[in-house]
Amino acid sequence: MRPRASEEQLTSAGAQREDAPRPVTVALVGSPNVGKSSVFNPLTGLSQHVGNWPGKTVEHKIGLWRGRGRTMRIVDLPGTYSLTANSVEEQVTRDYLLQERPDVVVVIVNAANLERTLYLVAEALELPLPIVVGLNMMDVAEREGVHVEPAVLEAALGVPVVPMVASRGEGLEELMTAVEGVLDGAYPYNPRHPEFGPDLEVLVAEIDRHLPPDDLEPYPRRWLALKLLEGDREVADLLRARLDSFRWAALDALLRQHEDAVLAIASARYEWIGRMVRAAIRRPKAGAISLTERLDRWATHPYVGPAILAALMGSIFWLVYRLSQPLVDLLDGGVGLAADLVRTQLAGAPAWVGGLVADGILGGVGTVLTLLPLLAFFFAALAFLEDVGYLARGAFVADRLMHRMGLHGKSFLPLFLGFGCNVPAVLGTRILESRRDRLLTTLLIPLVPCAGRMAVLVFITGALFGDRGPLVTLGVLAFALGTVGLVGALLSRVLFPGESPSFIMELPLYHLPNWRTILLHTWRRVLDFVVRAGTVILLLSTAIWTLAAVPGNGIEQSYLASLGRLLAPLGGLMGLDWRMMVALLASVVAKEQALATMAILIVGTEGSLATILPQLLSPAAGLAFLIVQMLFIPCVGTITAIVQETRSWRWAAVSLAYQAGLSFGLGIIVYQAARLLGLGV
């Protein structure tokens, strides 16, 4: 233990004359920000001395209070949440209380946050010191609708409780009157400590028998026994120094055997706090319950919560679809007109120049850019959910569902990010502690439909299914998400058996949307998309057009067609010709590239992709294509991220292989099933 702070050190603070008798000492203790200074400053006025505690960088404040013919020395101790030596402030405070033994200890608590600040009172009551409780911030409590009844709290605690608003000087006189009452024995002081129960009391008595038999002043034996059980290292060091090695070993063994007794002690104190709070506080009425709490009763409800999540996501997709579809159609028509214009303008140039610009660049990149309104609405909707605080609720509800399927609870956060883009989602697996969880989540992320795939989905359902497009979109999405769940459950049981831990989650408050943040977020994502269209998709579209144009005997005789026909047998099982299979392959570069490739390979000199697609694909083949496209192998960016995060090509290869098998397998099943239902025409 630290050397005892000497009286000289305290008097050297200049707060009292050397020849004066030792005045009564009152120690002020309390948690940080409970308004202790607002009590100390007006009580001591100009008589304060501020310095540091010997050997510590913790502030030391002493002052004198004079009133009603008495002088008291007020010592303002550092703010502390407990009396266990976890921090230098807690160490200083408890050492002062035990070693200097002030005549009265005033514990300041926050009336608006009594549950948090009563723990210190529980610990202070275990010391052999008279306690007075200053119930500060009564005004804040009232404002927040928390009605504290000081008289009831006083009766429950058995020590004086003084209601105060120290910032306005209210209750200071009454506080000092209570201090005087305790000093003069005028108050029937009868503190009610936390009760530890018979098992713990037996253990405390046993620990006591292991303590040195001699006087342990200034430390109360029971307090030492409790602190030892709480794992207080400073107290352990003190006793190790006071006991011979044999006796210390016996005590240490006993403490190790009961290392979780600290939980019983903390539980007893919390139960005591609960009793005090229930007695003294009238809870806010239903009307005063916060908006966040009222909303969360439904948003995080085990059954209603998932329904809200599904309804919300469904509404978003439907709204995005409805709002963006006219704009997408308009832009699609615009791309067709621009291509016609380019062909006219370049009529005099070599044929390949017009073909490259009109069909390759405008057809490929232009078609992808028609998705811009759709993606902008989608990104804005996700940013809105995140900004108002719903993201965490959605994630919480999704986590519960996933947990039931044996998935890791925390994986939902990176998986949720996957809706925007799979690349940051894979990088987001860094937040998972174990390699098992990281690998499992990394293998699942590429199955989450990213914005690029969403755009392709919405475009194709719009072109193929007309008014039923939104319904088909939701159905395909539900199918894809169900697959994520099933694959996750399978992988977690077969490849990665292990326990999925549960979490306590603190959900942020709901708040009004900040439109600037939402617009900024949306703008960044849209810009990112445009840059990708202008670089990667432009280059690949040019390459695909070139491969489809050479050696020059028409697209059906091109090198690309030769390559595509290798995939035709597989495509045939899903009703897809070689061009659709090439479009699928091209989506490995970027998911939107599937549309660009279709536009290059399918659209001739007339019309647009949206108008031509229904002539090429039956509903059954369209569904099969969409299922494969949603679950197909990850894009190059995601593969790179997987290699980077797992530091191995092996897991990237596993991801490619199982997703290829899964997507084609399910695509074939869906096509054959849809044909049986009469959708094959």
Binding site: D260, E386, I504, E506
Partner: protein, 88 residues
């Protein structure tokens, strides 16, 4: 401690308000209990976001939405053991 048992037996994560309701305490007190259990080594912050060192060199760190999503805590091995056995 009941709190540890509730987490251990939970089939999925628990939100603070729900856990507080089940324990019959206020959220402020529950937060204090969680802080204490973290200090005593029974719970550990699970880090919903980039406060963990692993994200230090992440190229997506600037625009990542994980940090604001939620704060999480989970049982440590010591917490799991204490949840299953009598503590005294």
């Amino acid at each position: 401690m009941r709190l540890l048992r509730l987490i251990a037996d939970s089939n999925g994560s628990l939100a603070l308000p729900e856990l507080a309701r089940r324990l019959g305490v206020g959220e402020a007190m529950l937060e204090r209990m969680i802080e204490d259990l973290v200090r005593m080594g029974y719970l550990a912050p699970a880090g919903a976001g980039c406060e963990q060192g692993a994200c230090q060199h992440c190229p997506q760190r600037g625009g990542c939405s994980l940090p604001s999503a939620a704060r999480l805590w989970t049982l440590t091995p010591r917490g799991r053991k204490a949840a299953q056995t009598p503590v005294v």
